[in-house]
Amino acid sequence: MADVLVCVENLHVRFRTYAGVVHAVNGVSFDIRRGETFGLVGETGCGKSVTGLSLLRLVPPPGEIAAGRILFNGEDLLAKSEAEMQRIRGRRIAMVFQDPAATLNPVFSVGEQIMGIIRHHQAVGRDGARRRAMEMLEAVGLPEPERLLRAYPHELSGGMQQRVMIAMALSSGAELLIADEPTTALDVTIQAQILALLVELQRSRRLSILLITHNLGVVAETCERVGVLYAGHLVEVGRTPDVFQAMKHPYTQALLAAIPRPGSHGQPLPAIPGTVPSGLERIPGCAFHPRCPFVMDVCRAEKPPLVSVGEEHTVACYLYPQGDCHLHGARA
């Protein structure tokens, strides 16, 4: 497959808690290509943030990556030492988070924070770091970078804070940006601006982005390809238009049906019956079967493999003809 930057294979992440072992991610596999935006969508608690953190090997304890491979430029990140990972974090893979107000350190100025990261990763002096920081702030569309360097996070608006976070993340030339709900905490108009910025940066820097979100509209606007995650299982992967217009998995169908549309005013929104499993109980077979309107006997017994249902479009569901699960089935 053309120019794959990241290849996640059969990733399992679990949390050993007092209540029992929570299986947050159960055998997720996907690729991110160079220069593309790959969307990972799902409900709260489906394991999408944990998947993102796994790529940096920063799953917080008691969480741990139990199995799988994460190939970055062909090298397995899970086989690397902590010291090697530290050289990858920030330098080759960077991350921005949901709540920019909480992700900026409140007691350091913007300049101290961004220059600290630059000076850690690059062999530049104070002046060099300062120049680089101002370039980055300009690149993310912030006016008056000189003044901004002296400002403290609480003096900035949410949109500005997120732009600063993006500037910090990309200041050391990362090839992959993991954006975990980057617009969720922002106003709608600011959301659109930040998304436009991400798209622009991706094009100008040939950046790959893993966009983690629960917002299908955000995916539709920005992602080339999308993976749908349910209870730690990847249920459908494909090009965004295919997944959105010819969705195959019953969960994806239900999810898209639940989006309010113009003209549906006054009618109740279709909801998915039942609740999301907690991850504590292991559901045999397909994780979605207790809520699926098309459930069959085989769904209760065995986990469905990913099968190809179109060009670059795979789905984990027994509704579609099996046996075609060669290359795409192994990893979508």
Binding site: R89, G90, A102, L104, P106, V107, S172
Partner: protein
């Protein structure tokens, strides 16, 4: 500037505090059934001598006149005269206060250099071996009575091991052959200024036990405070973000997290600094340290009220200024804090 406005307002309040403290100590001194005039004259006085002393000391005047005289003298920098030794109190303080300050500051230095790193590491590696042992140290530090710990340390390091001296600021041989020239009254400073290295080493050795005894409470408090705020701060998203940015753990703990976590610790340290000024009384007696504690202990035993009042005022001044300093420091460390 806002900051100066704030400082001036706080200083005005400080004056109010000092006036109240002076009124209270003054009244207590007059209410207590002891006759300063009799103490002034000495043992076996005649009634005539006492009457004369009463006139000399102005004790025959109405109470408010006495107070105004006292305040007027204070404003001139005259803290009065000890009724026991007839020495000007200011002169006594010039020798005793630096001794205590040296002890307390050295103790604070110990609290900072031992307490903060232990607190940071024990918060970072919760429930590890270091955490458990430093928590034990912390509990022991805050709960062990000073006088008992002091005696125990003397028994061990002087009695059994013979590593450290029993008490005093310098050895007698030092006072004879390499006497410390008094410049600031801080021996560590004075010996460096005069290049008296033998005396410097000796004063350092003499400082260790009393300063540590005095500091155990502050060390324990600092460990506990730093640990608990570190645990909180390390959960913050900006720490996860710093890890994601590939910053090394050392920078994260001792720079990015500590600057957030240290503010409550500093408040505690500042307050225990003032607490140590009075806590030094016991320690100084145990280690025969010629400081404020020894001075005020003798004054209390002799009902030497001018001295007690002067020391109380000095401690109050420290208290007020340390608090002001802490508030300014907090505003300097945390840009979200506004002074108002």
């Amino acid at each position: 500037m806002r900051r100066w406005e704030y400082v001036i307002r706080r200083l005005a309040l400080a004056v109010l505090v000092l006036v109240s403290v002076s009124v209270i100590t003054f009244l207590i001194a007059r209410v207590v059934p002891s006759d300063p005039a009799a103490a002034w004259v000495g043992p076996r006085p005649t009634p005539e001598q006492i009457a004369q002393a009463r006139r000399e000391l102005g004790l025959d005047k109405p109470l408010y006149v006495q107070y105004l005289r006292y305040v007027r003298a204070l404003l001139r920098g005259d803290l009065g005269v000890s009724v026991k030794t007839h020495q000007p109190i200011l002169r006594d303080l010039k020798t005793y206060l630096p001794a205590t300050m040296e002890l307390v500051l050295f103790g604070m230095l110990m609290a900072i250099t031992i307490g903060i790193p232990l607190g940071v590491l024990s918060g970072a590696k919760r429930n590890g071996l270091l955490d458990h042992s430093s928590r034990l140290v912390a509990i022991a530090g805050v709960s062990m009575p000073t006088f008992w710990l002091g005696l125990l340390l003397q028994l061990l390091f002087f009695g059994k091991l013979g590593w450290l001296p029993l008490g005093g600021r310098v050895d007698r041989s030092i006072s004879l052959y390499n006497p410390v020239q008094q410049i600031t009254g801080f021996y560590l400073v004075d010996t460096v200024l005069t290049g008296n290295w033998v005396a410097l080493k000796d004063s350092l050795v003499h400082l260790i036990l009393p300063a540590f005894t005095l500091a155990t409470y502050a060390i324990g408090l600092t460990i506990r405070m730093t640990r608990s705020t570190m645990i909180e701060v390390l959960e913050e998203k900006y720490i996860v973000a710093a890890r994601a940015a590939g910053l090394p753990e050392r920078t994260i703990l001792f720079r990015l997290a500590l600057k957030n976590a240290i503010i409550p610790t500093l408040t505690v340290l500042g307050l225990s600094f003032v607490y140590s000024l009075t806590g030094a009384i016991l320690v100084e007696v145990i280690f025969s340290w010629p400081g404020l504690g020894t001075y005020v202990t003798n004054a209390i035993l002799n009902v030497d009220f001018p001295v007690i009042m002067a020391v109380t005022l000095v401690v109050t001044v420290f208290y007020v200024f340390i608090n002001l300093f802490l508030d300014l420091l907090q505003a300097a460390l945390d840009p979200r804090v506004t002074l108002g």
